[in-house]
Amino acid sequence: MLKYCSVMIMPAVFVLIISYGYANRVDVFNAFLDGAKSGLKTLFGILPALVGLMAAISMFRASGALQFLTGLLSPFTNHVGIPSEIMPLALLRPVSGSGSLALVNDLFKTAGPDSLAGRIASVIMGSTETTFYTLAVYYGSVNIRRTRHTLPAALLADLTGILAGTLICLLFYH
């Protein structure tokens, strides 16, 4: 049921958007082409960051440092039930969007996208944001120096997303 719903959503949204476009007399194909062009630009924009980060992450993993780090964290993760491979992602997610994307891709390569860790990583990646970056951009733009309770509330939300993601995947796929 969960699987069926999830598969249905994407094509249904496609049809909905296109029909809505027709109903409002939008030149749908031209709009599509313009949008696709901007998607192309976005992706090439993040490519340099991805190259730098993927290289650093695979070096970090090949050297055994990543294993050492997850080993250090494993007493804590075992206690909560989070697979230890997830911890680096949980730590990096609020700091860097392209960095965590690179970590998720690395995890897909090593553990597989349908493994428990791969699924948890997917859910975390989809349900959280790059908190520190958002704070810096939004508050920086209006020169706010004291952000008061923004960071604690945002990080608590991130933690909720990470724990809930782990729990749901454990429930459904374990």
Binding site: S127, T128, T147, A153, A154
Partner: protein, 195 residues
């Protein structure tokens, strides 16, 4: 901050490889890592273009404005002190809608416009108002209709069930958002006046 993490990873890897004695694999992995990044970007390219194209249709058809109307009642709950027709609220609603549709390129300028409006009505400069805190917390939680990047990445990595994560992602982001909003509400009541 990312500068330190990035450099730190490479430097740590270098010294760690002496301990574990696999300097050669580490050297090799720099090359494969960079190669994987390009491979990953190529895997994302098709879907990224396709989805951005569809979103452009939605934008031109006025879907953003339509959805914005639907979430307006929520703003009274989130920002009780603001007039729902004020430019600040309008900009915030448009930003949230764009985020929901996954229009991140459009969401950021709208969000910054909302921050400028909020700053105009902020009585203490350089200190975030309750509304700003709430708005930024909402922006750091990601409520997205379809998490396309993750789905595409999963498909490119050979997943048998790339879409299977959509519903779990919805549940988790709603939970995260709820916790964020409630925390922001509680904390703003606690010390809002003193700070």
């Amino acid at each position: 901050m990312m500068g330190y993490i990035w450099g730190g990873m490479i430097i740590t890897a270098f010294f760690f490889s002496f301990l574990t004695g696999n300097i050669e694999t580490v050297a090799q992995s720099a090359l494969t890592g960079a190669e994987n990044a390009v491979e990953m970007a190529m895997g994302l390219l098709g879907m990224m273009c396709f989805w951005s194209g569809l979103l452009e249709i939605a934008k031109r058809a006025g879907l953003t404005e339509k959805l914005a109307k639907c979430i307006r009642p929520l703003t009274k709950l989130l920002f009780p002190k603001l007039n729902p027709d004020s430019p600040a609220v309008t900009a915030m609603v448009m930003n949230m809608t764009a985020n929901f549709l996954g229009l991140s390129n459009a969401a950021t300028p709208l969000g910054l416009a909302a921050m400028t409006e909020l700053d105009k009505i902020n009585s203490k400069k350089h200190i975030a108002s309750d509304e700003m805190c709430m708005f930024v917390v909402i922006n750091t939680a990601s409520i997205t209709l379809i998490p396309t990047t993750v789905i595409t990445l999963r498909a490119a990595a050979g997943s048998a069930d790339p879409f299977g994560i959509i519903v779990p992602v919805w549940i988790c982001s709603i939970l995260a958002l709820t916790v964020g909003v409630i925390t922001a509400k509680i904390l703003s009541k606690g010390k809002g006046r003193r700070l």
